[in-house]
């Protein structure tokens, strides 16, 4: 038993490290080796760094640069002017209007001329750093679009298990595990089975099945591995099967066409947000036990009032943009 646990822990560490190691590969890809780096400077400027000096008359003519958002190749963005830095290695493309920094952009250039030599045409991807993007998905799911406080999902478990702090934390961790596992499986099934075979009309049925599979597996394993925690969850572990937060995550990642890393981050953020919500709520409810609450409001009503106040506080995060 313990060797099995050790082996599975080692395996998960391996998986996580492979996951982290493969992240930088998914960053920006320059399709011309002469162009070294691309980045946004501000709302109206894209910076391109070259490996060597480029010619001024090529670099400063806006007609040589075509920029579009990756998703709409037909809509060219208006390039106002192009500037060359004094060392001639950096080109600034300026636009007449604000561009959407969250979207990936593509810059296509006519053959780059460097000191009279032709370095070949280039098509470059410009996007925000991938780590920042993943982090913004995580924080977005955890705080800005917290599933409990801004989307009002999963309230039955939220109210039911937030009476005591340790149950709440245990429940939050179980939720996170179930969410991450089911989100990864459902991402795989959605991308490689449902979508290619045009079976996406079955997504709700399949996702419910996946969630109940994960819950049943957690139930079986937890009963053996940690009976005390299992007893503390009681009926709520089974309630996870029919919980809307757990179903909402696969549906969100399917409709947003997230890739594996993004879905992992979304599930982690949603689970972490739920854990945070449960912890905050249980802390305040333990405090409310001692408070002098009017008899009409004692118990559940005051818990709902407190939930509403938390939701108001979380509204402060709305509209925030990170990175």
């Amino acid at each position: 038993m313990s060797t099995l646990m050790k082996r599975s822990i080692l395996l998960s560490i391996w998986l996580v490290s492979i996951f982290l190691a493969s992240l930088p590969v998914c960053g920006h890809a320059a399709e011309n080796s002469f162009a070294k780096k691309t980045d946004f400077k501000d709302n109206r400027t894209i910076v391109i760094e070259f490996a060597g000096a480029v010619d001024e008359e090529w670099a400063t003519s806006p007609a040589n640069f075509k920029v579009n958002e990756k998703q709409n190749p037909d809509v060219l963005l208006p390039v106002e002017k192009v500037e060359l830095s004094p060392d001639k290695k950096t080109v600034l493309i300026r636009f007449g209007e604000d561009i959407d920094l969250r979207a990936a952009h593509v810059v296509s250039m006519t053959p780059v001329s460097s000191e009279g030599k032709n370095m070949g045409p280039a098509i470059l991807d410009v996007k925000k750093s991938y780590f920042g993007y993943l982090f913004s998905i995580l924080i977005g799911a955890m705080l800005i679009n917290n599933y409990v406080f801004t989307k009002y999902l999963g309230l039955c478990v939220f109210i039911g298990t937030s009476r005591k702090k340790d149950t709440a934390v245990g429940m939050g961790i179980t939720f996170t595990i179930v969410m991450v596992v089911s989100a990864m499986i459902s991402w795989f099934l959605y991308q490689y089975v449902l979508k290619p075979y045009r079976l996406d009309y079955l997504q709700v049925v399949v996702f419910i099945g996946l969630v109940s599979l994960t819950v049943q597996a957690v139930d079986t394993v937890l009963r053996k591995v940690n009976p005390a925690l299992f007893k503390a969850f009681g009926v709520y572990l089974v309630l996870v099967i029919a919980n809307c937060v757990i179903i909402a995550v696969p549906l969100t990642l399917a409709s947003n066409e997230y890739n594996a890393f993004e879905s992992f981050m979304l599930a982690l953020g949603a689970g972490g947000g739920f854990l945070l919500a449960l912890f905050l709520m249980s802390a305040s409810r333990e405090r409310l036990e001692l408070a002098n609450v009017p008899p009409t409001f004692r118990g559940l009503p005051i818990a709902f009032v407190a939930t509403g106040l938390f939701a108001l506080a979380f509204m402060g995060f709305s509209g925030m943009a990170i990175f």
């Binding site: 079976l199 009309y201 079955l202 099945g209 053996k224």
Partner: protein, 53 residues
């Protein structure tokens, strides 16, 4: 009816049957691996009790 639609419907049924079987077998194996030995007397006593609730 459009044969494409029939194909889609049949494909859906086949897919659901497949993942149902797969999940079922997986869960059965897990249940066997992580089996908890329960006291058989608990069941027997529960049988004898009235059990309206």
């Amino acid at each position: 009816m459009d044969p494409v639609l029939i194909k889609l419907a049949l494909g859906g049924i086949a897919f659901l049957v497949c993942i149902g079987l797969l999940f079922g077998i997986g869960l059965a194996l897990a249940a066997q691996k992580f089996a908890v030995e329960a006291n058989p007397k608990v069941e027997e006593v529960l049988e004898v009790l009235a059990g309206a609730q």
